[in-house]
């Protein structure tokens, strides 16, 4: 029939076109790097970026005073050097000679001050500024809207910036590597209302093209101190990780996989052992936490019983097929102070039962026990195993409550605000914002901090971390204090750590100059980043 003939002709011509069309050519210097899990970037204003994909792009477009190298040390970026005052409260940065934006205009100290103020300004509508820059003197005043001037940041002259902080901090410089501390052109931002759509770059790359819903293309920025040999970086937005994996396998991508969106677990086995497979243990820990204000988990013995009843090795090696590393402590491996020993609560069913007895609780009297979790990835499988283990070792029936991710966040928030109506027990994850024990201990488990959703509280722990937080200079003592605090949190089960997830990505061997570690992909030297033809 006519229709059928038409279809045949159509099909043949399509195949013909495919056969003669040139294959997706990988010209010498175009790096194709996918951004998974999103369908567009929130904004190119560094103060507004809020997800890891956004931060990846921001890190390519903008420079900060400092950034992280492959070993996660803070190194100079747009600041070539700095000095710290005796009391550890005043940092004086000298900007690099010749540092320029992508239009050739110089990066000046007033740009730095403007950028920091902009990140804190409530009208900007970002949350990363107030969160990561809160230690700068005057930051809270700006963030609450009381004053437009950031008293703690001063442009001494065109190339010198002085930043005063509220309390000494060994990780202040790490906080300055974040998106909220990146430097934008104050001249452009104050004169052009649409500047975010075509911003001047202070970083190694500048924007060439932004196709909403599809992807972004970057080209090198001649004003940056490390000149990239690449012709361009193409970053498509791929919502679905499976799709990104397929694209990589059919030669359409050079780098696939990112924080929270690695190679889909079903494909890890087939990808392992290939030259492009890269795997690392993340600076993150998956844990079960408890509502310390409600029975039965207000009793440390009950929490201990639940901790001792779990066989984490079986969970990590058998259930999750060795794709994760079992964790018995709060700090993930690789974070400073994780090399110091901690006595943990290892699997011991007899001790678990004994702890339950010590608490004066039996499976009959414990009442309803509910574990809430967000539905994503392997969570469902993990909690099912936990439920089975608790039943086997303690005889307690734990109910599982799956929630959609946003709903889970809302319930966590509720647990913080009104613990009486909050979650009883929940399964969650924390990944390091910066590689420092403060991010895992003080920021998560100190009494009444925002992230301490379960309201864990121990005065000795508080005293130790408070002391360690403001110690600078004497690294050994500081880490020792954190170690003692961690020991308390582990013995008292502030968190019940389960495992450190791994991140698996694919990087084409033709790509050189990328380093892969617990914080993800880092490019230590942009002049070395290249993809050979």
């Amino acid at each position: 029939m006519f229709t059928k003939r038409l279809l045949t002709v159509l099909l043949v011509s399509v195949l013909f076109i495919l056969a003669v069309a040139p294959a997706a050519a990988q010209e010498g210097g175009n790096l194709r790097w996918s951004l998974e899990g999103i369908n567009d970037l929130v904004s190119l204003d560094p103060a507004k970026a809020s997800d890891s994909q956004g931060f990846t792009v921001i890190g390519l477009l903008y420079g900060g005073l400092v950034r992280l190298d492959g070993d996660l040390n803070v190194i100079p970026e747009l600041a070539e050097s700095w000095t710290v005052s005796e009391d550890g409260l005043v940092y004086t940065f000298t900007l690099r000679e010749g540092a320029a934006f992508s239009d050739g205009s110089a990066v000046t100290a007033s740009d730095v001050v403007w950028s920091l103020t902009h990140a804190l300004d409530p009208a900007t509508g970002g949350w990363t500024g107030p969160f990561y820059l809160s230690n700068i003197a005057g930051a809270n005043e700006v963030a609450s809207g009381s004053t437009p001037e950031l008293s703690g940041a001063v442009a001494v002259d065109d190339r010198t910036v002085q930043i005063t902080i509220l309390q000494p901090s060994a990780y202040f410089l790490s906080q300055l590597t974040f998106g909220s501390a990146k430097i934008v052109s104050s001249k452009q931002a104050t004169t052009d209302a649409q500047w975010e759509n075509n911003p001047l770059s202070s970083g190694p790359f500048q924007l060439k093209e932004w196709n909403h819903g599809q992807g972004i293309v970057l080209v090198p920025n001649p004003g940056y101190y490390q000149k990239s040999p690449l012709a361009s970086i193409t970053m498509p937005f791929i919502q679905d990780s499976e799709t990104a994996y397929q694209l990589y396998r059919t030669g359409q991508l050079d780098i696939m996989g990112s924080q929270q969106n690695g190679i889909p677990s079903v494909h890890v086995a087939e990808a392992e052992g290939q030259a492009d497979f890269r795997s690392t243990s993340l600076f993150a820990v998956r844990y079960v936490a408890f509502n310390n204000k409600l029975a039965p988990f207000d009793n440390a013995d009950v929490r201990r019983a639940f901790a001792l009843a779990l066989d984490k090795q079986t969970l990590a090696n058998d259930v999750l097929a060795g794709t994760v590393v079992a964790a018995d402590r709060i700090l993930p491996l690789g974070i400073p102070a994780s090399e110091l020993p901690v006595t943990s609560l290892s699997f011991d069913p007899a001790a678990a039962k004994a702890a339950l007895v010590a608490a004066g609780v039996t499976p009959e009297t414990i009442g309803t026990v509910k574990l809430t979790y967000g539905v994503e990835g392997d969570n469902e499988r993990v909690v099912t195993v936990l439920q089975a283990m608790w039943k086997e070792s303690l005889g307690i029936d734990v109910t599982l409550e799956p929630l959609e991710l946003s709903t889970f966040s809302a319930r966590l928030n509720e647990t913080t605000q009104t613990p009486e109506t909050g979650l009883q027990m929940y399964y969650s994850v924390w990944g390091a914002d910066y590689p420092d024990p403060q991010n895992f201990l003080s920021q998560q488990l100190r009494t009444d901090v925002g992230n301490n959703n379960g309201h864990y509280s121990n005065t000795e722990f508080d005293a130790l971390v408070d002391q360690a937080d403001v110690l600078t200079g004497d690294v050994a003592t500081r880490l020792g204090l954190y170690n003692q605090a961690e020991q308390i949190a582990v013995s008292e089960v502030g968190w019940l750590p389960l495992f450190n997830p791994r991140l698996n990505i694919l990087v084409n061997p033709k790509v050189v100059g990328v380093v892969f570690n617990g914080q993800g992909l880092i490019i230590p030297d942009f002049a070395a980043l290249n993809v050979s033809a």
């Binding site: 029939m1 229709t3 059928k4 038409l6 279809l7 399509v14 195949l15 076109i17 495919l18 056969a19 069309a21 997706a24 999103i38 369908n39 567009d40 929130v42 507004k48 809020s50 997800d51 409530p122 009208a123 509508g125 949350w127 107030p130 969160f131 963030a143 609450s144 196709n211 909403h212 819903g213 599809q214 498509p236 937005f237 791929i238 919502q239 679905d240 799709t243 397929q246 694209l247 396998r249 059919t250 359409q252 959609e404 991710l405 946003s406 709903t407 889970f408 966040s409 809302a410 319930r411 966590l412 928030n413 913080t416 605000q417 969650s428 924390w430 901090v449 925002g450 992230n451 959703n453």
Partner: protein
């Protein structure tokens, strides 16, 4: 018939209004909000409150709803929460032509394959070939798109691995990018339309007026196309309206997996992140599209079938 059209057009705004009302209400009640979603588990109550106020999320339900309605009437769909201050109109207008063209091509394809297959099956009824093809059509109809897609991809990968011409796995912009998504979207509709056409044709072929035509000595072709087909096609047309709804929901899966920047792609992420203005707008647009298509097919049907016209 003018009355029918008029009544339908008048009811359109009421339908849209009810949809905005329900969507807004459900969105408001759903736990979670865009700020928490943005902050990703980092708890800073002061910042959270401040941002809620900035986005007007701390106002009462009525305030928020009427502000939204007011904007809608002026053609202003509001500002997105997630894409910090970008107008929803801008975000959504990029996606509409993509989804419409994808859906239109899928619809045309499913009609151009389904109808001929159905007619052929009716003519060759009770043969093995016909039974096999109808079984295949049933399979296409019942297999969900998210099962079909990995199958397609696996086949495509086998082609790629052997160096034969293969299709791009995802993306948009080149003609090759259309092929797999359109095939997947059209697959279910093809099955349905083929089976429906077959049944409809069989019904018509049994009619007395066709026997009369044969008796009169009219040729096979003339009977088939001029008399039988024209009557059999009417039920197909009524089905096209709801098919659009079917395609729209199918598009959610297809667009997300193939990374096609259409409305479906936007909607899913907006829902996950509680980007209320975008959710509102995509729901209203999709609902309006379905209602409009139904109206058009009803009108078309009444144009084609004089019996319906008379009853108005």
């Amino acid at each position: 018939m003018g009355n029918v059209i008029l009544r339908r057009f008048v009811s359109l705004p009421f339908v849209i209004f009810s949809i905005t009302f329900i969507t807004f209400w459900v969105g408001f009640l759903a736990p979670g909000d865009p700020i928490l979603s943005m902050m990703g588990g980092r708890n800073d109550q002061a910042t959270y409150e401040r941002l809620r106020h900035l986005y007007g999320l701390d106002q009462t339900w009525n305030d928020q709803y009427f502000r939204y309605l007011g904007g809608l009437l002026r053609g202003d769909l509001g500002l997105s929460f997630r894409y910090q201050g970008r107008p929803v109109v801008e975000i959504v207008s990029g996606g509409i032509p993509v989804s419409v063209s994808l859906g239109a091509v899928a619809l045309v394809l499913s009609l151009s394959i389904g109808v001929p297959v159905g007619i052929w099956a009716a003519l060759w009824q009770n043969t093995t070939a016909e039974r096999l093809s109808m079984a295949a059509m049933l399979m296409l109809y019942s297999i969900p798109s998210f099962v079909l897609i990995p199958i397609f991809r696996w086949v495509n990968y086998q082609f790629y691995a052997r160096g034969w011409p293969s299709l791009p796995v995802a993306g948009w912009g080149q003609p090759e990018h259309w092929i797999m998504p359109v095939l997947v979207l059209a697959a279910a509709s093809v099955g349905y339309i083929a089976r429906l056409t077959r049944v409809s044709m069989l019904e018509v072929l049994k009619q007395d007026y066709l026997r009369t035509a044969y008796a009169k000595g009219l040729g096979q072709n003339r009977i088939l196309w001029v008399h039988a087909f024209r009557n059999a096609v009417l039920p197909i047309i009524t089905v096209v309206g709801p098919s659009v709804a079917f395609l729209v929901t199918g598009a959610f899966v297809v667009e997300n997996i193939f990374a096609i920047p259409g409305i479906g792609f936007l909607s899913v992420q907006a829902i996950q992140q509680r980007d209320y203005p975008v959710i509102q707008s995509t729901t209203v647009i999709l609902a309006a599209a379905v209602v409009l298509m139904n109206l058009i097919t009803d009108l078309l049907y009444s144009l084609l079938d004089p019996r319906i016209r008379v009853e108005g």
